[in-house]
């Protein structure tokens, strides 16, 4: 079989990270990798190069407007959008992890390799509406993440968190598989769009087994976006994993899961008339639960990483509200929100590395007074926290604004009120970070310990934090450009919305 140039064009963006993922272990075979800086440098450089190549290739595709496909892999606008999204998150995570793993004293090539495999899986996950490919991609990006959580072997908590994530994740994956199998059993096709057409044509759209299948598939997605009540793994996994990996998981997993959910449920399965109201009400109910659980639990955390984990749960709730509204404009809001969320969360997790807080030293106590010691980082932290809280004029506000506007416009005023109340609650715990950073002086004990430690050097992590802060700040002033130039086009040309 020969592969035509267009087909190459569709798979090349995935091949770059996959290639890197295969090459890096070869480099890390050298026993000296922990000591020889040039080997570590070469591994990181390779990782950055392949991510950069994928990014360059995808932006090139985006500019030309081509939407190539290869068998069940459709590199359409939406897939390109999410590919760029994942690659940017990966690049930030790689840069941060150079500093972080040097602080931890655990620099290993397999970490990078796993990360790149995960990236490949994520790009595939959003580029298909074939169930088998979808499942393969889900496993391809999930399995490396389970391992990544536990990657720092000297930390026993890592293994615990990774195990928890793996066990719950395995259940979710099997549910997802079961759901797909049920629908396949009725239709005999793995293609979700044609399955939807068949179900509608055979009058099976309201069949309980079809509903069960759809519900199980939905569960798989909701587990990945960490919506309540499938959120239990999130705080443990984030707390256990290295900071850059936690940031990457919080951003990329949630992002691709939402984009794939958008592709499958409202779009591909949109034609199944009996299904849509059920999905909508399930999303509405779970969004409320997620908002309440995420925000209220985040209030009582003492560890900032766990707080950020619950905050990421609550953000899943806001994003789910876009599905409740269910209008194309709400989905553009969702995509815009994800872009800003990428910058906010990668930045927020990058702060730990930039401040040199390794291991468990991620409580509010550990942050005290750091904002004044490192003003640029402190300023960025303020930008991230206020933006996460949705305070204008930062980028995070506009994401919520668009989703709430569509909610109100579609008559869900009560949901919108609940949403704003939830974000009011969230302000309190985001402000706690700023209180620790700026409003509290470090304790004498912490000062003494800090003076004994060597000065923190984290130039790469610091740079990613600054870039992320710039994106969040500018996102509040270029919102129309981002929405019309990217989010809207991805939905319009990728999914055929807005027609």
């Amino acid at each position: 079989m020969t592969i035509t140039p267009t087909q190459w064009a569709a798979i090349l963006p995935l091949l770059f990270p996959a290639l890197g993922a295969c090459l890096i272990p070869l480099m890390s075979l050298d026993r000296e990798q922990a000591t020889a800086k040039w080997i570590r440098g070469a591994m990181y450089l390779t990782a950055l190069l392949v991510v950069g190549a994928g990014f360059w290739y995808l932006t090139d595709l985006w500019v030309t407007g081509a939407q190539p496909s290869f068998a069940q892999l459709h590199m359409d606008r939406l897939a390109q959008f999410s590919g760029i999204f994942v690659l940017v998150a990966a690049a930030m995570a790689i840069l941060q992890s150079w500093d972080h793993f040097h602080q931890e004293g655990w620099v290993k090539g397999e970490t990078l390799s796993l990360l790149l495999f995960s990236v490949t899986g994520m790009m595939l996950f959003t580029a298909t509406s074939n169930f088998v490919v979808l499942f393969l991609a889900l496993e391809l990006f999930s399995l490396p993440l389970y391992a990544l959580v536990a990657t720092t072997r000297p930390r026993p908590e890592g293994a615990e968190g990774g195990m928890k994530y793996f066990l719950t994740g395995a259940v979710a994956s099997s549910c997802f598989l079961m759901g797909g199998v049920l629908i396949y059993g009725f239709t005999g096709t793995f293609n979700v769009s044609s399955a939807a057409a068949l179900l509608q044509a055979q009058g099976l759209s309201g069949d309980p087994m079809v509903l069960a299948g759809a519900a199980l598939m939905l569960l798989g997605f909701l587990f990945k976006v960490s919506a309540a009540p499938f959120h239990q793994w999130t705080p443990d996994a984030y707390e256990a994993s290295p900071h850059p990996i936690a940031g990457f998981m919080s951003v990329a997993t949630k992002g691709v899961a939402f984009i794939a959910l958008l592709r499958i449920f409202p779009v591909s399965l949109g034609g199944v008339a009996g299904l849509q109201p059920h999905v909508q009400s399930a999303m509405a109910f779970l969004a409320v639960v997620t908002l309440v659980v995420g925000n209220l639990t985040a209030l009582v955390q003492t560890n900032v990483k766990r707080m950020l984990a619950y905050s990421s749960i609550s953000h899943a709730g806001y994003l789910m509200l876009a599905f409740v509204a269910g209008t194309p404009a709400a989905y553009t809001g969702l995509l815009f929100y994800l872009v800003i969320y990428l910058a906010m969360n990668m930045g927020a997790f990058g702060l730990f590395t930039a401040f040199g807080l390794v291991g468990d030293r991620t409580t509010f106590e550990d942050l005290r007074g750091l904002g004044w010691k490192r003003p640029a980082m402190g300023f960025s932290a303020a930008v991230f926290m206020l933006s996460l809280a949705g305070i204008p004029p930062l980028g995070g506000f506009y994401g919520k604004y668009m989703i709430f506007k569509e909610l109100v416009g579609t008559g869900h005023v009560g949901m919108a009120i609940l949403g704003v109340l939830a974000s009011l609650v969230s302000v309190y715990y985001y402000l706690r970070v700023l209180v620790a950073l700026f409003l509290q002086a470090p304790s004498a004990e912490a000062e003494r310990l800090a003076s004994e430690r060597p000065a923190v050097r984290a130039p790469l992590a610091g740079a990613t934090v600054l870039v992320a802060a710039a994106i969040v700040l500018l996102g509040g002033f270029t919102q129309a450009f981002l929405v019309q130039g990217f989010a809207q086009r991805a939905l319009q040309e990728g999914l055929g919305l807005f027609r």
Binding site: T332, I391, P393, K405, V413, V420, L421, A480
Partner: protein
């Protein structure tokens, strides 16, 4: 220069931010230079605002351009200065440099950052005052919280973290619910322009209009603050550094009242009329409650804070009267309160810097130690009480007059009860003056009075003088400050379709001709103020 000529408001609003961001990156060792730069910048903004606002014919300061369209809703970059915000803009640009100068040595550390935040806050305040698009207004309104949060939280007193969080969350709670109302109405209107939204609102059922008005009113009432939504204010005021308190009282609270005049009442005139009585009732309660609570305070700053609740109650009462004279009085009272209470906070800050205490019981006989300070304090106190010839009198008189004459059935009763608040105001202020300034010097070695070694210096006198001049000017010739807002206020009330004024006719007296007087915007009694 051509750009400046066509965009003076943009420059006024954003120049402080640009300077503030510049000051933020200046290193810590240059803090003194940073502070100076901040002050000079704020002063330049004040001078420019004076030159540009006073020099142009009214209504010529308008900037309008489309900004962006999201989810089908266009947002306009619309700024303008008209009769309703003219003096508030000048008050803001005036108070910022003045406060910086007045609290020159109050802060010991990170004064450069403080100056930068102060300038960012100025942008928020000016932007909110001149914005003519509700989305833009919302952005500035919320953006204002961020610098204020840090000003209270970093440089405040012992309970600063609690106060800062309370201030932020309290204010945000109102405005987030307001945002939902805003989105609902904007969705119906397809625009954020107040006029278009008002039109859309009038087409909605009356019940929905009432809900929307309540959402608007609660957001603004929290800022005012109107009883019973005032509980954040004492904490914020007491904990904030002097400069923060001055600006909070001087400008931030005004934005609540301004929000009513600019948006809530014109957009929902019928609903506003419907809620006139509850609003007036709450205002009267605020007047009395604020005064009574102020009376029992031991901390001078807290006393001034509660007096703010009382004074702002007058503003809301004037607005709720729906008469031209009452609304005009409310507009003036907002300026009065900004100047008098701002001055009181500055004075309390000055004595605190010397004595490191604000407790009334720690003082006594200050007059013998600091005669110049005492003189200024008495003048400001009298203005706060509302002595004739000072600004406080004019504002309160017009508000009470308007309430008394208003066509509402409750007008007279409420006016009489509110007048009691004026008396109570005199009680708490004069009682404090008696305990702090008069009498023998506090004999206790550790008392505040014993630590007062110097009277006001030239800088502090330079700060107080313009305030005193304004207090007297506004008391003697209020027309300077009221003539611009006459026309907009009259047209505002015409839309509201307020009941006609009910003149008080004494038995046997000839009928007065009140209708004519109202049309001119002057109540009959105004002649008494400036003969």
């Amino acid at each position: 220069m051509t750009w400046l000529n066509s965009h003076p408001l943009t420059f006024l609003v954003f120049a402080p931010t640009l300077l503030g961001l510049l000051l933020l990156v200046l290193p810590q060792p240059l803090a003194k230079l940073t502070r100076l730069l901040g002050f000079l910048g704020a002063l330049a903004v004040f001078v420019l605002s004076l030159a540009w606002l006073l020099g142009r014919p009214a209504g010529s300061l308008v900037e309008h351009a489309p900004w962006f369209t999201l989810v089908g809703l266009p947002v306009d970059y619309a700024l303008s200065v008209d009769g309703l915000n003219f003096w508030l803009v000048l008050l803001t640009t005036f108070l910022v440099p003045l406060t910086m100068l007045g609290t020159w040595n109050s802060l010991k550390d990170r004064m450069g950052t403080f100056a930068a935040l102060f300038l960012l806050l100025e942008t928020g305040m000016l932007g909110a005052l001149v914005a003519q698009d509700l989305f833009l207004f919302y952005l500035f309104w919320e953006g204002m919280l961020i610098p204020m949060y840090f000003m209270i939280g970093v440089w405040g007193g012992d309970e600063r973290r609690y106060a800062a969080n309370k201030f932020f969350l309290y204010t945000l709670s109102g405005s987030l619910l307001w945002l939902v109302a805003l989105l609902f109405l904007a969705g119906k209107a397809g625009s954020f322009a107040p006029a278009v939204m008002a039109q859309a609102a009038s087409a909605l059922p009356f019940g929905v209009q009432c809900w929307l008005f309540v959402a608007f009113a609660v957001a603004f009432a929290i800022k005012v603050p109107l009883f019973p939504l005032h509980t954040w204010l004492p904490d914020a005021h007491v904990q904030a550094p002097t400069a923060g308190s001055v600006i909070l009282a001087g400008v931030l609270l005004k934005l609540g009242g301004y929000g009513f005049i600019r948006f809530a009442i014109p957009m929902f005139p019928e609903a506003a009329m419907h809620f006139a009585k509850p609003l007036a009732l709450l205002s009267v309660l605020a007047i009395l409650y604020g005064a009574l609570v102020a009376m029992v305070q031991r901390d001078m700053k807290k006393l001034v804070a509660y007096s703010s609740v009382s004074h702002m109650g007058f503003v809301m009462l004037g607005l709720a009267s729906f008469t031209v004279i009452g609304t005009q009085g409310a507009m003036l009272q907002m300026l009065n309160h900004g100047i008098s209470t701002g001055a009181l906070f500055l004075l309390v800050g000055m004595i605190y810097d010397r004595a490191h205490t604000r407790m009334i019981a720690d003082f006594g006989g200050v007059a013998t130690k600091m005669p110049i300070f005492t003189t200024f304090f008495i003048i400001v106190t009298l203005s706060s009480i509302g002595l004739p010839l000072t600004n406080g009198f004019v504002g309160e008189f017009q508000i009470l007059n308007g309430t008394f004459l208003s066509g509402f059935a409750w007008g007279r009763a409420f006016a009489i009860i509110a007048t009691l608040g004026v008396v109570l105001g005199a009680v708490y202020m004069l009682w404090m003056v008696k305990r702090v300034f008069w009498g023998p010097v506090n004999p206790d070695e550790d008392s505040g009075t014993q630590h007062l070694h110097s009277d006001l210096n030239a800088r502090e006198i330079a700060v107080m003088l313009p305030l005193v001049v304004l207090i007297l000017w506004m008391g003697i010739h209020p027309a300077t400050f009221q003539s611009v807002s006459e026309r907009p206020v009259a047209s505002l009330l015409k839309d509201a379709n307020a009941p006609a004024i009910r003149p008080l006719v004494l038995p046997g007296a000839p009928l007065p001709a009140p209708v004519q007087a109202v049309a001119e915007g002057h109540a009959p009694a105004a002649a008494e103020v400036h003969p």
